[in-house]
Subunit: 133 residues, 2 copies
């Protein structure tokens, strides 16, 4: 009964990119990666669960910070190799830098300029200090 | 003077994911890949130019269909390994299936359901028939 997972074209590492987008504003909050288990859990638990490539384990977004991403909609692209998650971002912060979105740098005058403010100091978000949940 | 390109964390294939988003509505239109040359050209020509992994060459989006993506803004994420392009999608069609967005399938009742209509028959879009520009 997991035909829908079989339709995904997982890459050679068994992963697909997953784009998290605010379900109301459409702002892209972050992009991370999912393996088959992460996507299955995301659907069943109705919250974003990624695969952390750096830590090589499931990454239950918000498990330390409380900045859980509640799932509103899952979408798949034409090539079946990219996922979109429309989410409600609890706490209003997706980025480990304490910003709403990870995409806080804009290309201007030949360089990357930070244009979005930090909402909350990361040190107060991540008590245990891994700084990336 | 290409320090901004050196800041990107290209993957082991020299690529980064690039998310194209409508600059007005925020709808995510597609995700493709860029190498260093593609990103440099995107910035200099102010239109989306990707790296086609399947064809192993630069992919000047819209070169056959006319469905060019005019660049309005480039953003970079916290890890410097994902790009967002805010674009104006000429013709209102980003997907090679003739739809506005490649993300036209929604997860419903345990399966992927197509929810967005085809705007234009792909056969009339791609005269030469490569069907993916």
């Amino acid at each position: 009964m997991n035909d829908w997972l079989d339709e995904i074209k997982w890459d050679s590492d068994g992963l697909v990119p997953a784009i998290a987008q605010d379900h109301l504003t459409g702002r892209v909050l972050m992009m991370a990666w999912m393996n088959r288990e992460a996507l299955a859990l995301t659907a069943s638990e109705q919250r974003a669960i990624y695969w952390s490539r750096s830590r090589a384990k499931l990454w239950r977004k918000g498990e330390e910070s409380g900045h859980v991403q509640k799932l509103h909609e899952l979408r798949l692209d034409c090539d079946a190799d990219v996922i979109i998650l429309k989410v409600e971002q609890l706490g209003g912060i997706a980025c480990h830098t304490g910003r709403e979105s990870c995409f806080y740098r804009v290309f201007e005058n030949g360089g990357w300029k930070t244009v979005d403010a930090v909402i909350k100091d990361p040190q107060s978000i991540y008590q245990k200090g891994n700084g990336h949940d």
